[in-house]
């Protein structure tokens, strides 16, 4: 089946190319406004990238490639490295996706396929409201409500269970069961991206022509089969887009993470141990930073952009393959 986008593309080029008529002036103005807005977005974004690159440049010049591989972060001796923050950022965002995406898709499927009609609006609204909670509130909820429960009912029993075991004994062992750490940050981030991914995924599933679904049900498919073989392939491109939006939020999220990640500049093999992310380090130190420390923080900002860049390229490749298939 030809995808919708292809049809639109055809329609678009034709209508633009053959346009004639009295309202051409207004048409040009509208087109110009759209073009100008797009350019403005481009300019602002380029300006931000430029200013951060400019600020981070001295750190890159000073430490070279070693900035990426060093785990040092010492203000006294002016030694800075990005490794701990980069790993913390990737680990927490990855955990957030692993936890958050299945939940989001589950919610989207529930809302579009399973939920009784009268409950769709209120339930959908409830999930969307999770996006209305400011990130600082998530941070406080994570620190005051979630972390103590998590320490008591997850960290302590799990640590006792796996202590001494190979691999899992390191990965899931909490030296200090305080409830905060990389995994806690991942969980909070997962909760934060759920409304974004779920609401877009739901809209996507909704947009799929009803007739497709009806025909699948008509030949005796179960809900699972309709979801697996009809809906997901149809919406996959857009859903990957939604996941990327969630990943973007997870990578750059600042306040909530800062509250629950423990903010330690140490490498640890355990996901229960405290760590830090690029954004949390910037938030923690920016106000008091000066000189090379400020440059190093800006350089961290550059690396965050680079990570996002790579993630987006991967996403694009995935999306392209999905389109072909």
């Amino acid at each position: 089946m030809t995808t919708l986008t292809d049809q639109i593309a055809l329609a678009d080029t034709r209508s633009v190319a053959r346009r004639q008529g009295p309202s051409r002036g207004g048409d040009a103005v509208f087109r110009g406004a759209a073009y100008a807005s797009a350019l403005l977005v481009l300019l602002v974004l380029a300006g931000i990238l430029g200013s951060i690159l400019y600020g981070g440049w001295p750190a890159f010049r000073e430490f070279g490639f070693g900035f990426l591989t060093s785990s040092a972060w010492n203000i006294g001796t002016e030694q800075y490295g990005a490794l701990v923050a980069v790993i913390g950022t990737l680990a927490s965002a990855l955990l957030a996706l692993v936890i958050g995406v299945p939940i989001s898709l589950g919610i989207a499927i529930y809302l579009t396929q399973l939920c009784p009609g009268w409950a769709r609006k209120p339930v959908g609204m409830t999930i969307e409201l999770l996006a209305a909670v400011p990130s600082i509130i998530y941070g406080m909820w994570g620190l005051f409500i979630f972390a103590p429960l998590f320490a008591r009912f997850v960290q302590v029993p799990v640590s006792n269970l796996v202590e001494g075991m190979p691999v899992v004994g390191t990965l899931f062992y909490a030296r200090v069961p305080s409830g905060v750490g990389i995994l806690t940050a991942g969980i909070i981030l997962a909760i934060m991206i759920v409304p974004f991914v779920a609401s877009i995924a739901r809209d996507m599933l909704d947009q799929i022509p009803t007739i497709l679904r009806e025909s699948a049900y008509g030949i005796g498919c179960t809900t699972w089969e309709v979801v697996r073989h009809v809906l997901i392939p149809q919406a996959s491109v857009s859903i990957i887009g939604a996941i990327m939006l969630g990943l973007g939020r997870a990578l750059g999220e600042t306040m909530a993470v800062t509250f629950v990640i423990g903010n330690a500049n140490r490498l640890s093999a355990s996901i229960f141990d405290p760590g830090s992310t690029i954004a949390s380090r910037i938030a923690n130190e920016f106000n008091e930073a000066d000189g090379m420390q400020l440059n190093a923080l800006m350089a961290l900002g550059c690396i965050l952009f680079l990570i996002t860049f790579i993630v987006l390229i991967i996403a694009r490749l995935l999306t392209r393959r999905a389109k072909v298939a």
Partner: protein, 302 residues
Amino acid sequence: MDAANTLAAPPAGTVPPAKRPSRVRASRRTADRSLRIACTLATLLGAIVLGSILMMLIVEGVKGLSPTLLTQPTPGPGSEGGGIANAILGSLVMTVIGILIATPIGVMAGTYLAEYGRASKLADVIRFLNDILLSAPSILIGLFVYTLMVRPMGTYSGWAGAVALAIIATPVIVRTTEDMMRLVPGTLREAGAALGAPPSVVIRSVTWRAASAGIVTGIILALARIAGETAPLLFTALNNNSWFNANLMGGVANLPVMIYQFALSPYPNWQQLAWAGALLITVTILALSVIARVVIKPQRAR
């Protein structure tokens, strides 16, 4: 949607499995049931988390509610009375200005990407930078606006705060606008064009209308995102522990920075105001979402 549900639901849900043993094999039924249970649990989990957060806000926030909360500016630590009226007003003004700046730019830029630019190199670059910016730590955006506006003007201002918020909101709006407009079937557009409508008219009265629910969702998401932003305001709008100037020059009070400062203070009256503010900001965004949904009847593209 409802039609689909009524069509789809009975065969799988209401008919007892025992009556149709041969039609659906056991493994298929198990897979189906697991999916249903998993999806329901996921939704329940989301609701429980929201409930828990609201519960925390209500339990802590209600203590801070007082008759003067909405009429008086923030008090000193340990002072009697006082409210958060200045912070509410400041937040309202800056968020509204921010969204008013971001909405036309975001929607138009999204329109460009979806309708005019489409596969061009420029559109690709913009789309890419836009996605990158979605994940930019907002503190860096605050810093950019600081360099752009606060330094040259020599003073903090609500305008700088609004611009910083607008920059954060724009990529969200661009992204959702483009996505939603792309989902509008080409046949609709062709029908418009066949009536002799120029592209701009087709976009405004066909594509936008068809995608309006999605675009509004995007704007609400953007609103929700910026309404609670602390970091970019710290460098741009600063804050104000009293009323601010009507021309928005100088520090402008706002809820997020107020919450941040007061919640981390050791003084009970400040902590209570912080919780009350947190409750208020969350409930407001909540109400906004509800109102937006009730007032604007979604007209989904078919």
